[in-house]
């Protein structure tokens, strides 16, 4: 379920310029209004700079680069 929520949110932002612009202005508001679990909210807030401003990904797990 949480995987699906992340997938749907990212899809919505990536395919709708208006949502992307809104995210750029108020990421926290947009994400919190979606009323996801704290865990999903935290993750989407971390993705927000990449989603809204196309900032580069950071390597979250350098240690276990399998």
């Amino acid at each position: 379920m949480e995987e699906q929520q992340i997938q749907e949110f990212v899809h919505r932002v990536c395919t709708n310029k208006a949502v992307q612009d809104e995210l750029a202005l108020d990421a926290e508001g947009v994400i919190r209004r979606a009323n996801y679990s704290l865990r999903v909210t935290t993750i989407l807030l971390r993705l927000a700079p990449c989603l809204a401003f196309e900032q580069p990904l950071t390597m979250i797990e350098k240690w276990w680069h399998v």
Binding site: Q7, T42, L47, W63
Partner: protein
């Protein structure tokens, strides 16, 4: 025992034990096995860096951390050395076999060629079993080496099954695969290996079966997170300007169906009503501008979703570990080795 050994002390101890086992190999084979174990990331790499010997360090650190609860037990430390060296051999062997199957231009494959690489992988798997059998000579419960070997055998079969699924998926259109199938493959491959590392550590610390299974689950979740993160970043590098790309063959070019690629295909299918046979990421540079942009946007979406799901699994691993240890804190060293001492929690304060 006064606290947990630092990582470099652990590496030195394990390195010394590993070299003793390598001395028993025939000289030409020993040269190739030593060369593989000395590449970056492996236990014999010099000068040693932060990431070296991680397969060995995980079970060893876990035993050290758990022994803080129960007090000093030199028998468990010996068992931990055995588990650690076996894990280093198994992890290194699977890395080599992956390189051969993916036709990756990795340093060992370039240095040794395919045949010698496969031979070294076989030797490492056998060496892992020799290391575990040697535990029978120590003053340890006789069931421990048997349980460790059983765990290793099961893992190798599970990982092989995952690799089989992965290889067969290369022949299928990306749109046919589901997110769940991709996660199953990640679980069977990287998930089972990290689960094994945690399981072996928990077995050496003489935990009850249920606790062993819970530590294995922490490893499995971390393994999935690492695999997804790896897949997302590998594909992300492909979207960078050509000058920033490495010469290595990409997952796209190989036709591998990693999660970001599958998600990208499904996004193209639903957003632009494309037929599954029409979606082919292997020749992006040959596409017309408009179509190329749609494909790149879909790949970007797949990458970001995969990274989000990787963060999710990592957070699940952190929570599972928290539930296991309760109010006790996990040693900083173990946190570093597990890679669970970072920033996700800090964002909760935004």
């Amino acid at each position: 025992m006064a606290g947990v050994m630092e990582l470099e002390v652990m590496r030195s101890l394990l390195r010394e034990r590993l070299l003793r086992y390598l001395d028993s190999l025939q000289s030409a084979l020993r040269r190739d096995v030593s060369a593989v174990l000395a590449i970056e990331g492996k236990l014999l790499h010099q000068p040693a860096s932060e990431l070296d010997g991680r397969w060995a360090l995980l079970p060893f650190c876990l035993v050290q951390d758990l022994l803080l609860l129960t007090g000093d037990d030199s028998g468990s430390v010996e068992a931990a050395c055995g588990a650690a060296l076996a894990m280093e051999c198994i992890g290194s062997a699977t890395d080599l076999l992956d390189d051969v199957m993916d036709a990756d231009a990795s340093p060992p494959l370039e240095q040794l060629g395919e045949a010698r690489t496969v031979n070294v992988a076989l030797a490492l798997i056998s060496l892992a079993q020799r290391v575990l059998l040697a535990l029978l000579d120590l003053d340890l419960p006789v069931t421990l080496p048997v349980r460790l070997m059983d765990a290793v055998q099961r893992t190798i079969l599970q990982a092989a099954a995952g690799q089989q699924q992965d290889l067969l998926a290369e022949k299928r259109p990306a749109c046919e695969l589901t997110r769940e199938e991709c996660l199953e493959i990640a679980s069977a491959k990287a998930g089972t290996l990290l689960a094994l590392a945690c399981q072996m550590g928990a077995l050496c610390a003489n935990l009850e079966e249920q606790q062993v299974a819970r530590y294995a689950e922490v490893g499995r979740l971390l393994g999935i997170a690492a695999q997804l993160d790896n897949d997302a970043h590998d594909l992300y590098k492909l979207l960078q300007p050509v000058t920033q790309q490495s010469g290595q063959k990409s997952d796209l070019a190989r036709g591998k169906k990693t999660l970001p690629i599958v998600l990208a295909a499904r996004s193209l299918q639903t957003t632009h009503a494309l037929e599954s046979d029409d979606i082919d990421f292997r020749s992006l540079e040959l596409l017309a501008d408009g179509k190329r942009e749609r494909y790149l946007n879909a790949l970007r979406e797949g990458i970001l979703t995969t990274w989000g799901i990787a963060l999710l699994y990592r957070e699940q691993a952190r929570e599972a570990l928290g539930q296991l240890v309760g109010k006790r804190s996990v040693s900083p060293t173990l946190c570093r080795v597990l890679g669970l001492n970072d920033a996700l929690e800090k964002i909760k304060d935004w």
